[in-house]
């Protein structure tokens, strides 16, 4: 449960950041918090008590003592996707800073209504 709670808190902190924080960088970090929380959640889902990594690096490893491989695979995919989004987000932030000369999201509202 505690692992779940950790991931929920990460997600919640991330969401809090994207709602409350005004700095573009902080918002991007908030996104990352959410993503990390989700990844932690995925991995925790797959954990099986006393399970080991699902790798048959030696003969005779018992598959029933292994953790679920699917969440690990999913996390791997999710991490790359998060990294991609992060890279793009940072690129946007840099450009926004160039255009607006500020990192304050409140001042970046030329588009509205």
């Amino acid at each position: 449960m505690s692992y779940y709670l950790g991931s929920f808190l990460l997600i919640a902190i991330g969401l809090y950041t994207v709602i409350i924080k005004k700095n573009l960088i902080k918002i991007v970090i908030g996104l990352n918090f959410i993503a990390s929380g989700v990844n932690l959640l995925i991995v925790s889902i797959g954990y099986v008590k006393n399970g080991t990594a699902p790798i048959f690096s030696k003969i005779g490893i018992n598959p029933s003592a292994m953790v679920d491989p699917i969440p690990q695979a999913l996390t791997l995919t999710a991490i790359v996707i998060d990294a991609s989004e992060l890279a793009l987000a940072v690129a946007f932030v840099v450009l926004l800073y160039r255009h607006y000369g500020t990192l304050d999201i409140k001042k970046i509202r030329s588009l509205k209504w």
């Binding site: 080991t52 990594a53 790798i55 690096s57 840099v94 800073y97």
Partner: protein, 85 residues
């Protein structure tokens, strides 16, 4: 895990906690990064230790990757601290 392993884990963990304390306390970015640097180094050692405990050779690769990324991370951060964007 023998009692020796547990003691080892305890000592190193306290070290990790202290590093985190510096990370949180700061007072500036550089101090935090130093805390982070110490923390990652400890983590690398721990990875290798866990590889032994769990008898998974492959965790050492993980340690290596982690160490490498931490190293590059420190350089990048140092650069950005120094020159800004």
């Amino acid at each position: 895990m023998s009692i020796l392993d547990w003691i080892y884990l305890a000592i190193v963990s306290i070290g990790a906690v202290l590093a985190v304390v510096r990370m949180v306390k700061g007072p500036d970015v550089t101090n935090r990064v130093v805390g982070l640097d110490v923390f990652t180094t400890i983590t690398v050692a721990l990875f290798v230790f866990f590889a032994m405990i769990f008898d998974r050779y492959i965790y050492i690769d993980v340690a290596l990757v982690y160490g490498l990324l931490a190293f590059i991370g420190v350089l990048v951060i140092a650069r950005f601290i120094e020159r800004g964007f």
